[in-house]
Symmetry: C2
DNA sequence: GTCTATAGAGTGATAGAC
DNA sequence: GTCTATCACTCTATAGAC
């Protein structure tokens, strides 16, 4: 699924080599090089989360892995490639393509559960909060990624709220696409507030919003 | 006032030299040096907005002003000093200390009006969206600034919603402090969505939220 | 108040040895 | 697959002339 700062299962190994040069598509499992790649991706996630994409150097990430920076660039030819690999790896860990065919209730429950989980994973929240703002610039390497991400998230949620409306479960004054955008905005904004003050209850404030919108 | 990406009057000159070394507190108006300072602050706002604090160099800002970077650093001794000067200048332009003693209705109207105005000032929105995310890191020069900013914004809005509740103008299920945090989050999140897609109607989505919370 | 020059460190990326 | 060495920049900041 595709929550805005969606958390997912950590430590999924051996599935994150798509599209990388120098690695054969068909090869044995328990490849030693794949472990290095996984280490790099985990480390890069933390580093980008702490200082953003522009604020983090390839050397810094490599050093935390116990590597030199040319060794890292052997696996990911450019820094932008590394960023995109980190993002797609999270997408895969989060279950692939969006909410898929989840029902409306399951969708909203998943969202609240994710907010609760995120409150235990500061790094992931920092990554998406920092990057989504950074990537509003049209020249940022992750710009198109975030455009697509938000468009599909809003589309899925609009479908969900419309389903609720059809079943008479949405407040009469609530428009599905309006609620979808508001919900996404709320998740993003609450993350910034939580990062500045961990007392902020992201999941609770999200649930309170949903209570006011449901019939 | 202190909206999250609050816009204010541009081009206010000769009022932004507070706390800068090398400039006497009491001096004649129409100081020539003050014009350079103002030019630098306007230019720095634009530049920080486009690429964030970390993504912008002092040289880049100086060049856009037709200056060399040592000339700029004569006016603002460090890059962090320049950032803080940009932020305090905007706060002054926006009217000083928060919502002050504005009534609840005036407060909310001001907020919606600001959202509408912001849709014509992409640079200002980019500045606050990028910086507020960047500044969640505890070592960022603007970290304390944003902590204070959000705390006072939430406090003011909580007071406003409480005032409405006392007058029976708030929906029964709405808690003032919950609504305050949600409203701030909504403003922040909508800005990111608007930066990624200018079709997004920030003011309209904000008004729609307020309609669901008022009695 | 602005300049040139430079220090001193950091940047992404590449070449080539092993 | 990882290394050392290096290229060609860029960065913030300072020294000192004018």
């Amino acid at each position: 699924m595709k929550g805005v700062a969606m958390a997912g299962t950590r430590g999924v190994k051996g599935v994150a080599m798509a599209g990388t040069p120098g690695v054969k598509a068909t090869r044995e499992l328990s490849d030693r090089g794949a472990e290095t790649r996984t280490l790099i991706l985990d480390t890069a996630l933390e580093a980008f989360a702490e200082a953003g994409f522009r604020g983090t150097s390839v050397r810094e990430i490599a050093a935390r892995c116990g590597l030199t920076h040319p060794a890292l660039l052997y696996h990911f030819p450019t820094k932008a490639d590394l960023l995109m690999a980190v993002l797609s790896r999270r997408d895969q860990a989060d279950g692939g393509d969006g909410f898929g065919d989840l029902g409306a209730h399951a969708m909203l429950e998943h969202l609240v559960a994710t907010a609760r989980l995120n409150a235990t994973q500061r790094g992931v929240v920092e990554l998406y909060a920092t990057l989504s703002a950074e990537a509003t610039g049209r020249d940022h390497p992750a710009h198109e990624y975030f455009r697509r991400r938000y468009a599909s998230l809003v589309a899925d949620l609009t479908r969900g709220f419309a389903e609720l409306a059809a079943g008479g479960q949405l407040a009469a004054r609530t428009d599905p696409s309006v609620a979808a955008r508001q919900l996404v905005a709320l998740m993003d904004g609450l993350q910034v507030q939580w990062l500045l003050d961990p007392e902020v209850d992201m999941a609770g404030l999200l649930e309170a919003y949903l209570d006011t919108q449901l019939a």
